[in-house]
C-alpha cells in the first residue's frame, strides 16, 4: 500500500508550514460546495417537485380563486391594473426563496445530526468562508427553482416584461442571501430535526403571511393597523418588494437597504453561532458519538 509518491512522513516534514491557500484553492472549495449542493438537489427529486408544486398551487388555484375578491389597485411599480396572478408572482418567488432557505437550514440540521456537517466544519478553510460558500450554494439552487417556476408561470400567461427576467436576478440573489442567512442562523440554534416543525409554524408561515406577498400593504392597513405594522417590521416584505420592483427594472431603495442590512445581521449571527470559540456549538453536546 502506498498513498504517497514522496518519502514517508517525518516529524520535521509534517511540522513544516504548508503553502498558504491561494484564491485558486478558495475557488476550488467554493466550486466543490456548489457542486455538492447541486447534486444533492438533483438526487432529491421530491424536493425539487415539492418546491415547484407549492408556488404553482398558489398561482393556479389560490390566485385564480381570489382574483375577484382581492382586486388590486394601481400601485407602484405597476402602471395599469394587473391581474392578481401578476401581483402575487413576486411573493411566490419570495416564497420559493423562503422555503428553500429554510430547507437548506433543515438540511444543515440533518447533516449535523447525521454527521455530514462535520466533514465541512473540519476543513482547513476559515469557518466564515465555508458558511458563506454553503449559503451561496443554497442560493444558487433556489434561484434555479425560481426560474423554473417563472417559466411555468410564463406559459400560464403570467408574464413580466422580458427584460424583467434579467433585472430581477440580483434582487432574487439578495433576497435569497437574506433568507438563506436566516436559515443558516436558525440551523445553528435548532438542536434536533424534530424542532424544525416549530420553524414552519413560528418563522415561515408568519413571515410569509405577514408581508406584502399576497396583498398590498394599503389593504392590510385598512383591515388591521397592527398587522400593517407587523408587515412593515417583517424583512420578508422588503424582499418581496425588492423583487416586485426589479421585475419592472426599478430599484426600491428602502427595500434594498433593509434586505442588505438583514443579510448582514443574519450572516454575522450565523458565523458567530458556528464559530467554535464563541458560538453555541461548543456548549451543547453533539449527537455524533458516545465516547
Amino acid at each position: 500500500m502506498n498513498i504517497r509518491p514522496s518519502d514517508t512522513i517525518t516529524a520535521a516534514t509534517a511540522a513544516k508550514p504548508a503553502p498558504r491557500f491561494g484564491i485558486g484553492n478558495y475557488l476550488v472549495c467554493l466550486k466543490g460546495i456548489l457542486i455538492r449542493e447541486g447534486l444533492r438537489f438533483v438526487n432529491q427529486r421530491e424536493r425539487f417537485i415539492s418546491s415547484l408544486v407549492r408556488p404553482l398551487l398558489w398561482l393556479f388555484i389560490f390566485a385564480a380563486g381570489f382574483r375577484q375578491v382581492l382586486g388590486v389597485s394601481i400601485i407602484p411599480p405597476y402602471k395599469t391594473y394587473v391581474l392578481y396572478e401578476v401581483y402575487i408572482t413576486p411573493g411566490l418567488c419570495g416564497m420559493i426563496l423562503l422555503f428553500s432557505g429554510m430547507q437548506s437550514s433543515l438540511s444543515m440540521v440533518y447533516d449535523r445530526e447525521m454527521g455530514n456537517m462535520r466533514t465541512l466544519l473540519v476543513s482547513p478553510f476559515p469557518r466564515w468562508f465555508l458558511l458563506v460558500s454553503k449559503l451561496l450554494a443554497g442560493v444558487a439552487v433556489s434561484l434555479a427553482q425560481v426560474y423554473v417556476f417563472l417559466a411555468v408561470a410564463w406559459f400560464w400567461n403570467v408574464k413580466a416584461p422580458p427584460y424583467g427576467y434579467l433585472m430581477v436576478l440580483p434582487a432574487l440573489f439578495l433576497a435569497g442571501l437574506m433568507l438563506g442567512a436566516l436559515g443558516l442562523l436558525l440551523s445553528s440554534v435548532i438542536k434536533q430535526l424534530e424542532n424544525f416543525a416549530g420553524v414552519m409554524n413560528f418563522v415561515i408561515f408568519p413571515m410569509y403571511f405577514a408581508s406584502s406577498a399576497l396583498y398590498p400593504l394599503w389593504r392590510v392597513q385598512e383591515a388591521s393597523p397592527l398587522l400593517y405594522k407587523i408587515c412593515l417590521a417583517n424583512p420578508f416584505t422588503y424582499a418581496v418588494e425588492l423583487i416586485r420592483f426589479a421585475f419592472y427594472g426599478k430599484i426600491e431603495w428602502t427595500s434594498l437597504a433593509v434586505v442588505v442590512a438583514f443579510t448582514a445581521i443574519f450572516l454575522a449571527g450565523a458565523i458567530l453561532a458556528y464559530d467554535p470559540s464563541r458560538g453555541l456549538m461548543t456548549r451543547k453536546q453533539d449527537t455524533g458519538g458516545n465516547g
Binding site: 517525518t10 520535521a12 491557500f21 466533514t119 466544519l121 456548549r283 453533539d286
Partner: protein
C-alpha cells in the same frame, strides 16, 4: 485514583500534544485536566468506556469545539490559534457515518478534496490512490448507499487520507462492523503507520483492538488514568493483561467520582 504515566520524551515535535485540557457541557464536566502526547509515526490507542470523554476529546482535537481550557497542538500547530495549519495535518474518521448516501464514492471523495483546496485533476489522481490503498478501487461510481458498513468505513478512511495528513484520528472506526471487517480495517491502519510514517490515534472501547506494542491513553469519567505502552500499563497496575488493567483503572475512576 490510580494514574499510570510513564511517558518518555517523544522528540521535539509530537504528532499530537494535549496539554491540561478540560471541557464541560454546562455543569457536566466531560474532560478534566487531560494531558498526553503522541510521538510521530506511532499507533496510539485511546481507550475508554462509553461516556469516558473520547468523542469530546476528538471534537476538541478536530476543532469542532473550541479548547477553552488547556491547549491542543498538532505537529506544533495550536488548534485554536492556527486551526487551518492544524487541520491540514489531520485526517479524521468520525464515529458517526459521514458519507453522503445520495452521492457516489467519487462524488463524496471529490467533495472532500475540494474542502482541502485540491483541484479536480489532482483530486482524481489521489482518489485512485487512496481507493487502491483501502482496496475499494472497483467502487468508484457506486452510490454510497449501496455499500456495506465495512465498505463505507473504508471509503471514510480513504477520504481521511486524501489530503495526505500525517496524523489520522479514528473515533471508534470499527463500531457496528463484523469481526472480519474490524480486523481488516485495523490491519490497514497499522500498515499505514508502519509503511507511510503516519501517526494514528485510534479511539475504542474494545480491548481486542489493542496490540502489546501500542501506546495507550486511557480515559475514565473524563480523567486521564493511563498514558503509557501496554506493557507498562500492565506492570504498573499489577495486572496480567491490558483488559484487566483497563477494567481496574475504569473501576477505580468510577469509585472516585463523588
Amino acid at each position: 485514583m490510580q494514574h499510570v504515566d510513564s511517558r518518555k520524551d517523544a522528540g521535539a515535535i509530537p504528532a499530537l500534544d494535549v496539554s491540561h485540557v478540560s471541557h464541560s457541557y454546562g455543569r457536566k464536566r466531560a474532560l478534566n485536566d487531560v494531558s498526553f502526547s503522541i510521538a510521530p509515526g506511532t499507533f496510539a490507542v485511546l481507550l475508554g468506556l462509553n461516556g469516558a470523554g473520547k468523542t469530546t476529546l476528538f471534537s476538541l482535537i478536530s476543532h469542532l469545539y473550541d479548547t477553552r481550557h488547556g491547549s491542543i497542538r498538532i505537529f506544533g500547530y495550536d488548534i485554536s490559534r492556527a486551526p487551518g495549519e492544524a487541520l491540514r495535518r489531520l485526517g479524521i474518521v468520525f464515529q458517526a457515518r459521514t458519507l453522503d448516501l445520495d452521492l457516489s464514492v467519487y462524488q463524496n471523495l471529490s467533495y472532500h478534496a475540494s474542502l482541502h483546496g485540491i483541484g479536480s485533476t489532482e483530486a482524481r489522481r489521489r482518489i485512485d490512490e487512496v481507493l487502491a490503498a483501502v482496496d475499494m478501487s472497483g467502487r468508484l461510481h457506486d452510490k454510497a448507499r449501496s455499500l456495506s458498513g465495512g465498505q463505507m468505513r473504508r471509503i471514510e478512511i480513504a477520504r481521511a487520507l486524501l489530503h495526505r495528513p500525517p496524523l489520522l484520528l479514528l473515533d471508534e472506526a470499527t463500531v457496528g462492523l463484523d469481526v472480519k471487517s474490524r480486523a481488516g480495517i485495523l490491519a490497514d491502519i497499522r500498515r499505514l503507520v508502519a509503511t507511510e510514517g503516519i501517526s494514528a490515534f485510534w479511539a475504542t472501547h474494545l480491548i481486542d483492538e489493542v496490540d502489546p506494542s501500542d501506546h495507550v491513553v486511557v480515559l475514565a469519567d473524563g480523567n486521564l488514568v493511563a498514558d503509557a505502552r501496554v506493557a507498562e500499563v500492565i506492570r504498573l497496575t499489577g495486572t496480567m493483561s491490558i483488559g484487566e488493567a483497563f477494567s481496574r483503572l475504569s473501576a477505580a475512576a468510577a469509585e472516585s467520582v463523588p
